[in-house]
């Protein structure tokens, strides 16, 4: 009996469908990936999209309202009210160093992303393409460290940072994020398949030093993964709260800390709080619109978990 997929390959989709009908098999949507979705699928997906997006829009709706109105109308109408800019101005005027927090978050996120990507690519290159004693054992060790809960170390880390006099300074947040086990693992996986060993050999034969080979052969080959890892590190850093909350103080906050301060200080005026929350979300939503495609591809290629 000729199989349906084989017929599809040899004689085209139409013939395959006819054969399937003759054999009493479900056509079209019978197979996992090839099936053609019905409108129900799109309805489900549209609902999911609505659930994903509504809380963000809800933030904006409340942020464009005022406290009295929110109390009277807990279910906001879908049309935003006109107070958003006014609320934004009040957020910046509030005594929570909002501007400073934006700059701080940006500085931390950019430095840790660049550094993580660089060191992770370097290590990933070594693990995937270079021969050295203990390679496999060290890699397994790195992967095992991913399972250690970060919370476990905060107390001694706090003691160390205080001794160094770093407590309250951005460097105390930046240094622990300079390179991650996840990044190294991810880059190793990527370069293993993306970088042909012949290319490295060719560069070596041409007289390149090891670091030169890395710089002009491995790094260009890693470019797509570099973009993805950079994005994930950026998002993780931007949304990180626990450690900055412990080590920094409210005079020198990161953005999530500023949002927390806003809630603690102005919880009676929820339009103000929500305007601040909306401001903290906007940069990443813009980033998401521009580069969400890469994030999706990144998760699907590497099964990532930050």
């Amino acid at each position: 009996m000729a199989s349906v997929p084989m017929t599809a390959q040899v004689a085209g989709a139409g013939a395959a469908r006819r054969l399937a009908r003759k054999q009493g098999l479900p056509t079209g949507r019978g197979y996992g990936v090839q099936r053609r979705p019905r409108w129900v699928t799109y309805v489900i997906l549209a609902l999911v999209l609505l659930i994903s997006a509504y809380p963000i829009y809800y933030t904006f709706l409340l942020g464009s309202s005022d406290a009295g109105h929110i109390a009277q109308h807990p279910v906001p109408s879908l049309v935003p009210r006109g107070n958003f800019l006014e609320n934004v101005r009040r957020v910046f005027d509030a005594d929570i160093h909002f501007w400073k927090s934006v700059v701080n978050s940006l500085v931390i996120a950019v430095i840790t992303s660049v550094s993580t990507v660089f060191f992770a690519t370097l290590a990933g290159y070594a693990f995937s393409k270079l021969q050295f004693r203990g390679r496999r054992g060290l890699l397994v060790f790195i992967i095992a460290t991913m399972a250690i809960p970060t919370q476990l170390g905060v107390i001694p880390l706090f003691i160390v940072m205080s001794r160094l006099g770093w407590s309250g300074h951005l460097i105390a947040v930046i240094v622990p994020g300079l390179v991650t086990a996840f990044g190294v693992f991810w880059m190793t996986q990527y370069l293993e398949s993306a970088l042909p060993t012949e290319l490295i050999d060719a560069a070596r034969v041409d007289g390149c030093s090891m670091i030169r080979t890395f710089w002009s052969v491995a790094l260009p080959a890693a470019r797509p993964a570099v973009a993805m890892l950079g994005l994930f590190t950026f998002v993780a850093s931007w949304t990180n709260f626990f450690w900055p909350f412990i080590i920094l103080n409210s005079d020198n906050p990161t953005l999530p800390m500023a949002v927390q301060l806003l809630q603690g200080t102005y919880f009676k005026d929820f339009s103000l709080v929500m305007a601040g929350v909306a401001l903290s979300i906007v940069p990443l939503v813009i980033l998401f619109v521009a580069a969400g495609r890469q994030l999706v591809a990144g998760i699907m290629q590497g099964a990532v978990k930050g």
Binding site: G32, I143, P176, T188, Y190, I299
Partner: protein
């Protein structure tokens, strides 16, 4: 396997094409050999240096702190043996925090994994604008947990909340989202689910696309309908991925802090600590009124051990459940690619399961 040998003889053909190079001096050769030997270690050293300072050392030092009297400001005190552990285990708040953590964890991870698999199955079709829909499920991931906590704190507001207002408008009484224990846990679990379901959906989707079509063909020939295919082919094939997702969400879920911290403005976990998690308790011990680093360190170690035990338990249970699926015995292992004999399949080492799954062997079928 190609080794990078610096002193490999240069192939004659290649030499002919180039201008004659001066013969390498022995000194340069030695330098080059040294370069080859040392470079790999140099390249991986940043991670290990950093890990030693911010990972390994704190881990051991936490143990040291936990057996001392230790004030957050005053610093190290007397050696007290296991007193901190005993004290912590006698605190009702510790047990309350554990109950809350587990309750929130179960309420978030179980529905999340189920929803993610179902949603991935919906996405695993020949959709129009598929990147758009995939981005749609991922959108919540870019919202910081702190922001999620605040937004849902309002949505689940007891008096002016969105949900209660909607419930009232259809004649159902308000739910006490903040004062009731289980309701507050459900609200916090919803925040976690909001942020992570889409992310896990994409992981499952990737795994689904790696399932060979032939398996489905065989199922169809055997007369399996769509549901039967989903249950008997897709779900068992996802076994390694389920383990991966469950373990990572265990590590993250049992440390949950941001969302419950932001659920109200005081950040104490409710008037009777009804949603105070263990990490919130740790924070309160160390940086709250008590200023007791010794006890906080003890909590950190207890939490670590719990996560370890639950992680292993998860691993065993998930493996049992998933491999009990009809039609297949042990889990599918990816075959190593012929061109890469040295894949990371370390024998029985931690993370092997993950590695096997993560090796990007099957190219995206839609590419």
């Amino acid at each position: 396997m190609a080794t990078i040998a610096p002193d490999a003889p240069v192939r004659p053909a290649q030499r002919d094409e180039r201008a004659p190079r001066p013969p390498r001096s022995p000194w340069r050769q030695r330098l080059s050999r040294w370069d080859v030997k040392v470079s790999p270690y140099l390249y991986i050293s940043p991670f290990f240096l950093l890990f030693a300072v911010i990972g390994l050392f704190p881990l051991l030092y936490t143990a040291f702190v936990s057996v001392h009297q230790w004030d957050t400001i005053g610093g190290q005190g007397d050696y007290t043996g296991l007193k901190n552990f005993v004290d912590v285990l006698h605190q009702p708040h510790f047990w309350v925090s554990l109950r809350n953590t587990f309750s929130i964890f179960l309420l978030s991870s179980v529905p999340q994994v189920i929803m993610a698999i179902l949603l991935a199955n919906v996405l695993n079709a020949n959709l129009r604008a598929k990147t758009f829909w995939r981005m749609g499920v991922l959108l919540p991931y870019v919202v910081a947990p702190v922001a999620v906590g605040l937004i849902f704190g309002q949505i689940f507001g007891d008096r002016y909340g969105l949900i209660n207002s909607l419930l009232n408008s259809i004649g159902i009484e308000s739910i006490k989202w903040h004062s009731d224990v289980l309701a507050s846990h459900a609200a916090i679990a919803t925040m976690v689910n909001f942020r992570w379901t889409g992310y896990n959906t994409l992981i499952f989707l990737a795994a689904m696309q790696a399932i060979p079509t032939e398996v489905y063909e065989a199922a169809v020939v055997d007369g399996a309908g769509r549901w039967r295919q989903f249950w008997s082919v897709t779900v068992p094939m996802l076994r390694p991925t389920v383990i991966f997702v469950v373990i990572t969400s265990t590590i993250g879920g049992l440390q949950i802090f941001d969302e419950p911290r932001m659920f109200d403005q005081t950040g104490q976990g409710g008037s009777s600590r009804q949603w105070m998690t263990t990490t919130m308790y740790l924070y309160e011990l160390g940086w709250g009124n008590q200023h007791n680093f010794g006890r906080a360190a003890a909590v950190a170690w207890l939490l670590f051990l719990i996560i370890l035990v639950i992680g292993i338990l998860n691993f065993l249970v998930t493996r049992r459940i998933a491999s009990a699926g009809p039609g297949r015995g042990r889990g599918r292992r990816r075959e190593p690619r012929p061109d890469a004999p040295a894949t990371l399949d370390a024998q029985g080492a931690p993370g092997t399961e993950r590695l096997g799954m993560l090796t990007p062997s099957t190219p995206d079928r839609e590419a």
